[in-house]
Symmetry: none
DNA sequence: CGCGCCATATGCCTAAAGGCACAATGACGG
DNA sequence: CCGTCATTGTGCCTTTAGGCATATGGCGCG
């Protein structure tokens, strides 16, 4: 336990730098024995990206991206459910045929007998999957519990890294609404207002683009009353009471960058 | 030990925000029993600043700043040695006469029997001192050791906060309350909207700063009707019809720079 | 002197946002 | 199963912004 503090301090200091992922791996694996690590990015709509590995073979990376990702139960889980958190391989209630192929084919060839994924939100419909792998012994429940306890720290570190890098979330095309028709719509970074749900972010995007409530209702196919409800909920979460304060918060965020 | 992870995640997420110091206090005191907390900033050349306290008295704050800081052994240590880290009161190899006065005078009046300082670099010749205080029992060596182990994490968090704020000197002034009271008001460049009169520019400044019509009327000593007239005139000149379009025009002007 | 601009004021009405309460449904986790 | 959250909906009321018209006085300019 005492050897967690140094990797933790390093991971904190490394947010926003190129060392972030490496330090995050060090932290996650600090007192969980493992034989190798793979880091992959999953999207709900695109093929996975292989980010990094430790003690894994480049040949197996190539095979994964060529073929085996199709059978990857973690990837399938992300596409189906978008679930974040600690995910042990043996808990994936996946299609048994696919999981069988993943284990018999890919994992066996990689000499992996068990795997646990740490799925962290990565902006948009992407997640970052950091996988600890074992060659001979399976992960114990106590080890999974340890990772579960520490998950909020991993998530906070990764969120901070995204924020420090200032990546934008929405990329919208040109709007064609009546009234306010700006040439350039405000983009809301993923790191801004993390307490908002996806729907609420959609609402905020339209509000900040200058659309009045009735127009937003039309666009989203909901009633004016529902838009008002969302507005109230958003204002509550952001501790404001008016639309103009929303503009100001956003303006301040932009001014701080 | 399991209850360190939630405050740790919160402290990570709070870096660069107004909540940083509060979350840092929560983290430091998470499983170290204490009765009250004081947070002070020391410079090698200026008088101390009292940043924040928990369960301490405003009267004692006043007395400290009026008089007792002169006898503060932590302050003296900082001025003399600039030493950072975990500093228990009983380890301060200070002038015994001064330490005696601090304990007999200030600490006794505050009903504090022991104190440990966590001294973090704060930019320039300043440090941030977060002090855990006990009223009845002294801090144990094992508790000090625990803080020593965790110090790199506290340091990394605070360094990250400084970096995120982009300031050489960290300043924790009173946070602004909810509502439209921005830290930084929009400035309207002279080249923007040259068709506006001086008075109209004054109005726009206040509108963009988030003030509603009634508030603007009060500030300028005119009636609500007059403010509305000005609004109408401004909107005519800028070929818009609503306040939100004014925000958008301004926002676009800023985005274009 | 007349005109236009600016700043200020009044009155009335409409549209829209905000405030509040309540309700239903589905998904998720303990 | 229960509680929580997100999403959607309804209704009623109040507050505020916007729309429109009119008026007055001061100032500068042709």
């Amino acid at each position: 336990m005492a050897n967690i503090w140094a990797p933790l301090a390093r991971a904190i200091a490394a947010t926003g730098t190129d060392r972030h992922v490496d330090c995050l791996i060090d932290l996650i694996g600090a007192d969980i024995e493992h034989d190798l690590v793979t880091v992959t990015r999953y999207s709900a709509t695109q093929t996975p990206e292989f980010v990094k590995h430790r003690r894994f073979s480049d040949e197996m990376v190539r095979r994964y991206l060529d073929n085996y990702y199709v059978f990857d139960p973690f990837y399938a889980s992300w596409r189906r459910e978008r679930r974040l958190g600690i995910m042990p391989l043996k808990r994936l209630a996946d299609d048994e045929a696919k999981r069988g192929q993943y284990i018999a084919g890919f994992l066996a060839q990689s000499e992996i007998c068990d795997e646990v994924g740490i799925m962290l939100a990565d902006g948009g419909d992407w997640c970052l999957g950091i996988f600890l792998d074992r060659s001979t012994a399976s992960f114990k429940d106590s080890e999974i519990t340890l990772l579960d306890e520490r998950l909020p720290v991993f998530e906070a570190l990764h969120a901070l890294d995204i924020k420090a890098r200032g990546r934008d979330f929405f990329r919208t095309s040109a709007p064609t609404g009546p009234g306010a028709s700006p040439r350039q719509e405000p983009n809301i970074p993923a790191s801004l207002w993390p307490e908002l749900s996806l729907r609420e972010r959609e609402l905020v995007q339209l509000i900040l683009a200058g659309h009045p409530t009735a127009n937003i209702a039309d666009r989203l196919g909901i009633t004016v009353g529902t838009v008002k409800n969302h507005r109230r909920r958003i204002y509550e979460k952001l501790d404001i009471t008016t639309e103009r304060e929303l503009f100001l918060q956003f303006f301040q965020h932009r001014a701080d960058r």
